[in-house]
């Protein structure tokens, strides 16, 4: 059974891989409902859909991790069975996971060796990794343990591991979500090259401008069904988003000129030695954020973002109390709860394990960061009703989709959990909000929701500091942007006076971070709005 919206399937040579009538049910939940998909050699095929549309389930079926309830998969026209990933790999299917399938306590080389043929190990493998890094610009230190690597570096391992298997079909799940624009460019060169080599690529991304640039065919999923197929080059990002969501994605409403209150958050020459062998020193970082302002911190992963966030939140204390000021008070020696009581709120990068405890329910997670600022305890005892009410308020305000009244945080999709952890802090009406990678791996609708919430918060007079690798995002919401490179922060540049190219150069460290921004091209006019809203 085929959904009526699909154009006739094959009209041409036999597809390299095909999936026909794929149905996958988990209990009475149907994740995939009669999906047809054909992938030809030498094409980059986009798979679009919101979180929960069934993309991950379909990919897991193609990679042999799940067996479909109904439907068949073909390879060069022959029906094949993929009972496990090993058989998928033997048929030439490789996968770059979004949620990295890496073992933290093993080294880079060991993680790669896990799925390599037995003959390839030790020095030969290290040589292959180095050769691949050279060819594609994916640099890795094979001896480093994974726990010491940033999210961007971890993704590089995934990509290298996949490419080492010389696959015929590469499935990429949100491959650029943690890459900087420079790194993403490098990846696109790799992908174009793989396509030119005659390989097929299945490309899953929320970044519609990337899809429009790379892919000649797109299949759009919504609620487990194929709702459309198109040539993304002939569509606008907005029309693609509309097909995914089933309704128009609202453009961000810029805040009414926010009243610029005085400076609310201040870092003064903060210097922190790296906490670990593989961390970054913070060097004389100074910044100020006024009420009503959003300051963006751009930078490539691993240049001190995590350390800066820890110093701001109080997870790491500053050497001098005066190095961090909240509303004029020196708080460098205060811990995270004391800072929260002064009206600050913090959203860390990692949703699972840092911002939220995946095994605890949403109401319990609400208590985790709000116990100091919301009336959630009485005589030291937990007020469960209060916690549930708080969680419900967040869920309602941020449209968090979930199963059951108060499910474990880990059962939510990434976008919904992110909406929950951001909403939890914003509902506290903080005077200062520090947020690290606010929309990492989040679908377009949820990202727009979160960004709008940040804009609204600033409009109400809060000082908002956004640390992000996503330049589109920063140019969309931040009033000014500073660049963190190797632990040093550049001066903040008003958005209207800089450009992506200038920021990109600073991110690469090619200009003196303390100096004036390099003059590049025409004076930057209005910055482009972000990807989902290009019309």
């Amino acid at each position: 059974m085929r959904a009526p919206a699909i154009p006739p399937l094959s009209s041409g040579p036999t597809p390299l891989y095909g999936a026909y009538g794929i149905v996958k049910r988990f209990g009475d939940f149907t994740a995939n409902d009669g999906i047809d998909l054909e992938i030809r050699a030498g094409e980059i095929h986009a798979l679009l859909g919101e979180n929960g549309a069934g993309k991950s389930t379909l990919m897991k079926i193609l990679y042999g991790l799940l067996e479909p309830t109904e439907g068949v998969i073909t390879h060069r026209g022959d029906v094949v069975r993929l009972p496990d990933p090993d058989s998928a790999r033997r048929l030439g299917i490789g996968m770059v996971f979004q949620h990295f399938s890496l073992c933290e306590n093993l080294t880079v080389a060991e993680n790669i060796a896990l799925v390599m043929p037995r003959a390839l190990s030790g020095r030969a493998l290290a040589a292959r990794i180095a050769a691949l890094a050279e060819t594609y610009g994916l640099h890795l230190d094979p001896a480093r343990p994974v726990w010491s690597l940033s999210a961007g570096e971890r993704q590089r391992i995934e990509i290298v591991r996949c490419l080492l298997q010389d696959p015929r079909l590469v499935i990429l799940d949100e491959p650029t979500s943690v890459l900087t624009s420079g790194e993403a460019e490098t990846l696109f060169v790799v992908l174009e090259r793989l396509r030119a080599e005659g390989r097929a690529l299945l490309y899953i991304s929320h970044r519609l401008d990337e899809v429009r640039r790379l892919c000649a065919r797109a299949t759009i999923l919504r609620a487990g069904k194929v709702v459309g197929a198109c040539d993304p080059r002939r569509e606008s990002a907005r029309s693609l988003a509309a097909m995914m969501v089933g309704a128009q994605v609202s453009a961000l409403k810029p805040p009414a000129a926010a009243a610029r209150a005085g400076e609310r958050l201040r870092l003064e020459r903060l210097a922190l030695p790296a906490p670990g062998l593989h961390a970054t020193d913070l060097r004389d970082v100074s910044l100020g954020v006024s009420g009503g302002e959003i300051l963006g911190i751009a930078g490539i992963a691993g240049n001190g973002q995590a350390e800066l966030f820890a110093a701001l939140s109080g997870e790491v204390r500053a050497p001098e109390a005066e190095a961090v000021r909240i509303d004029g008070r020196a708080v460098g020696h205060l811990g995270i709860n004391a800072r929260r009581r002064l009206g600050a709120a913090f959203v860390p990068e990692e949703r699972n394990g840092h911002a939220a405890a995946p095994g605890l329910s949403l109401s319990e997670n609400a208590v985790l960061s709000r116990h100091a600022t919301a009336p959630l305890t009485r005589f030291g005892l937990l007020r469960r009703r209060g916690a549930r009410a708080l969680a419900q308020a967040v869920i309602a305000a941020f449209d968090v989709r979930k199963a059951g009244p108060d499910p474990a945080a880990g059962t939510l999709s990434g976008g919904n959990l992110q909406k929950f952890v951001v909403g939890r802090e914003i509902l506290a009406e903080p005077g200062i909000l520090v947020i690290n990678q606010p929309t990492w791996g989040v679908d377009a609708a949820a990202a727009a929701h979160i960004r709008q919430a940040l804009l609204d918060l600033a409009a109400r007079g809060a000082a908002v500091l956004v640390i992000s690798q996503d330049l589109d995002e920063l140019f969309e919401i931040a009033g000014s942007v500073a660049v963190l490179h190797a632990g040093s922060l550049s001066r903040a540049m008003p958005r209207a006076e800089t450009s992506r190219a200038a920021i990109g150069l600073l991110m690469g460290g090619s200009a003196d971070p303390a100096g004036p921004p390099p003059a590049l091209g025409a004076p930057a006019g209005r910055p482009e709005p972000a990807h989902a809203e290009v019309s």
């Binding site: 988990f26 042999g64 991790l65 799940l66 067996e67 496990d84 990933p85 090993d86 998928a88 790999r89 996971f97 990295f100 399938s101 890496l102 073992c103 933290e104 306590n105 093993l106 060991e110 993680n111 060796a113 896990l114 799925v115 037995r118 190990s121 343990p145 726990w147 010491s148 906490p275 670990g276 062998l277 593989h278």
Partner: protein, 308 residues
């Protein structure tokens, strides 16, 4: 003369350490795969009973050792079925199997209580075994001692030099990621549990066939628990386990001599010495070595159910 006394002491140290090394190596492999088997004590004591019974019936120490290892393996197969196959709680299942092993061993060994047999034969190489000072220590031990040494070397080699060992460590670190890569998580865990059980059974057989060549109920006297603790405090490294076991054996022998010499310290304090010394040494050893990640296999004790 005094050299021979030193050698005699060292021989007792080694024989006290041998069962701990064998049992702990098995447990180390199981825990590296992510399974916490608290049933070591039970598998060990069952191995002691069955090993002694088989040896008495057949008259062969080798068959006795094989029987002991087989008994431990059988009990661990039950444990693996529960925890790996059915994803039952590992702590509860392990404790239950320890109690079950103690009970079963009493049943299996009931008619052998009080019997005696020759201890396991010791190696004798002419000239070498008679070397003064070192001959008996290096070339005159029983086969179990050499098996224990081979286990230490073999497990180290397996875990860090083979692909299968890498797979096992990866599965112990993150079963979700390794499952996503298509590695056989449950199969590897089950095999690791079987290996651990066989080692525990063999360690028990050593007690009843070589260390004290008779069977008495509950004769393991908590050695299974010591082996478990050794694995943790040795931060899951085979050489440290061996060193910890030797230290434990050494202080055990030392405090016996100290009690005999009448140092004036209460006997209970001296009896506690091996435990304190071992824990102290291994804690110091594992301090301040790493700044991130975890020493323990990250998935240790967590059950895993793939959904298909």
């Amino acid at each position: 003369m005094s050299l021979d006394i030193v050698q005699m002491v060292l021989v007792t140290v080694v024989s006290a350490a041998t069962p701990l090394i064998i049992a702990a190596m098995g447990e180390l492999v199981a825990e590296r795969a992510g399974v916490l088997n608290l049933g070591v004590e039970g598998m060990m004591v069952l191995g002691a009973a069955v090993g002694f019974a088989v040896a008495v019936e057949t008259g062969s120490t080798l068959l006795g050792a094989v029987g002991g290892a087989g008994a431990g393996l059988a009990l661990s197969a039950l444990f693996g079925l529960l925890t790996v196959g059915l994803a039952a709680n590992q702590v509860a299942s392990g404790l239950a199997l320890t109690i079950m092993g103690l009970g079963l061993s009493g049943l299996a060994g009931a008619s052998y209580v009080g019997l005696k047999r020759e201890p396991a034969p010791h190696l004798h190489i002419p000239v070498l075994s008679d070397l003064p000072g070192v001959g008996r220590l290096l070339f005159g031990a029983d086969a179990f001692v050499y098996v224990a040494l081979a286990l230490v070397a073999g497990v180290s080699w397996f875990l860090w030099r083979t692909r299968a060992g890498l797979t096992l460590r990866a599965i112990g670190d993150d079963h979700t990621a390794t499952h996503a890569l298509g590695l056989p998580v449950r199969k590897v865990r089950f095999l690791a549990v079987l290996f651990g059980g066989a080692c525990a059974g063999l360690a028990g057989a050593y007690l009843s066939l070589a260390y004290t060549p008779f069977w008495a109920p509950a004769m393991t006297a908590g050695r299974g628990w010591i082996a478990l603790a050794l694995v943790v405090f040795a931060s899951w490294r085979p050489l440290r386990v061996a060193a910890g076991a030797l230290l434990f054996g050494g202080t055990t022998v030392l405090q016996l001599h100290a009690q005999a010499a009448g140092l004036g310290l209460p006997g209970q304090a001296l009896s506690a010495l091996p435990y304190i010394a071992t824990i102290l040494a291994l804690v110091l050893l594992s301090l301040g070595r790493r700044q991130g990640g975890s020493l323990a296999p990250a998935a240790l004790g967590r059950d895993f159910t793939p959904h298909r």
